[in-house]
């Protein structure tokens, strides 16, 4: 190396370094200009996602299947017709056949229009029903969300405050996440052609409001709270303390966070 070193070469090298350093601020300004052109985001809203941990709990024994939560969600988030960010399932378990010795018969699950308009009378006659109940469903806010892991472009992510969100500007609409979610909580939005899902009404919770479904639920079947900032007599804390709570499909290792009380073994 040293045998090739000439004065001319050294000066050239030095000039290159100085030139590079001089160009850096220009490059930074240039970068900022390019990114201002690309960015569409509004100013930050004084909300620190590291200081919250949102969670929803569902009380199956309180759900009356009115479907107002689904209606509220669809209106709040302009969910396109025929798609749902949250839905209600009706479980109907029939009586076991006489002398079969079984504890229960068959299980039927339905969710007409996601329960948005309430539920028509079940086709199974009342005398044959052993028991029946409603189960509201939504994004389970997984800790190790499979939908985030499969996203090839980093468009979906687990926000630090517990919400699993989709960056519409980055999503390429490949649909991997729709297939990956074991709870069926995602869909491809036919209007934006990007993945869509429950955002926990992110625009509401960051403003101090409850998610639309929780706000509208008449029977307090949905309970919402911030695990990091419990309020006085926190309803969520009371719910977890007073009920034997469960989560859906824990065996899959997705680490669902949404808690349910009063689940039957048939509910998946």
């Amino acid at each position: 190396m040293s045998e090739n070193m000439t004065r001319r070469g050294a000066i050239k090298g030095l000039a290159g370094i100085v030139g590079g350093l001089l160009a850096l601020p220009a490059a930074r300004t240039c970068k900022a200009a390019v990114q201002n052109g690309l960015a569409s985001s509004p100013a930050p809203a004084g909300y620190d996602p590291f200081k919250h941990k949102w969670l929803m709990a569902l009380d199956v024994d309180r759900c009356i299947g009115c479907g107002l939560c689904v209606e509220a969600c669809c209106q709040e988030n302009s969910v396109p017709e025929g798609h749902w960010r949250t839905w209600i399932e009706r479980y109907v378990i029939t009586k076991p056949k006489a002398e079969s010795g079984d504890t229960r018969g068959e299980t039927f699950v339905d969710s007409p229009e996601a329960g948005r308009n309430g539920f028509p009378e079940s086709l199974i006659p009342k005398e044959e029903i052993l028991k029946s109940f409603f189960v509201p469903k939504l994004c389970n806010l997984c800790e190790h969300s499979p939908c985030t892991q499969v996203c090839p472009v980093g468009a979906t992510f687990d926000a630090p405050d517990g919400a699993v969100l989709v960056d519409k500007n980055y999503c390429i609409g490949c649909g991997f996440c729709v297939q990956a979610c074991p709870y069926g909580c995602r869909f491809l939005n036919p209007v934006t052609h990007t993945a869509d899902k429950c955002t926990l009404c992110y625009h509401r919770i960051t403003r101090g409001l409850k998610p639309a479904c929780v706000e509208i639920c008449p029977s307090q079947a949905r309970i919402f709270g911030d695990r990091m900032n419990p309020v006085a007599e926190d309803p969520l804390e009371r719910f977890i303390a007073n009920n034997k709570v469960e989560k859906l499909k824990q065996s899959l290792g997705t680490g669902p966070r949404v808690v349910y009380a009063g689940l039957d073994e048939e509910v998946r």
Binding site: A39, A45, R62, I216
Partner: protein, 158 residues
């Protein structure tokens, strides 16, 4: 002459081309990666604010109670205390922003799935604690409010 310059020219061209492509990649990455990418994790931090920028559609009970304290107090005494105002009255965000814009008056004669019947129609799937009626043989008039006060269901109207 350094030894690497004695390599066959086609190899040198290939090496230069590779260096050029790598440089182009890093330059493009430097300019095109959004500033907020990686702020919280492997995603665009600004996306959080963009998602949060949406305007709420339902005002929330707290906004209603600010003005309508009398109704809220009455509601809090009865069994309908768990209901949000908007559960029955519909979205009120427009009314909160501009009080002159009134919410539509509820049509209590409707015995379809819109008001009382939506929740109180009997069904074997509904929990036992809920008061349920068969809308076809329960009522004698045609308006629920003839016998029940929606804000205070325990009370009988005068």
């Amino acid at each position: 002459m350094p030894r690497f310059l004695k390599m066959p020219p086609q190899i040198i061209r290939l090496v230069l081309l590779t260096i050029g492509i790598v440089c182009a990649y890093f330059t493009a990455r430097y300019f095109l990666t959004p500033q907020s990418f990686g702020q919280y994790g492997h995603y665009r931090g600004d996306a959080l604010q963009e998602i949060a920028a949406r305007q709420p559609f339902w005002a929330g009970k707290a906004a209603c109670v600010e003005c309508h304290t009398d109704h809220a107090e009455k509601l809090a005494k009865g069994e309908h205390k768990t209901l949000s105002c908007e559960t029955c009255h519909g979205p009120g965000e427009a009314h909160v922003k501009n009080p002159a814009e009134k919410l539509p008056k509820l049509d209590m004669t409707k015995l379809d799935m819109s008001l009382c019947v939506r929740c109180h129609a009997a069904s074997p799937s509904k929990p036992k604690w809920l008061h349920q009626i068969n809308p076809h043989n329960h009522y004698t008039g045609n308006v629920c409010t003839e016998c029940h006060v929606p804000h205070q269901p325990n009370e009988v109207p005068p």
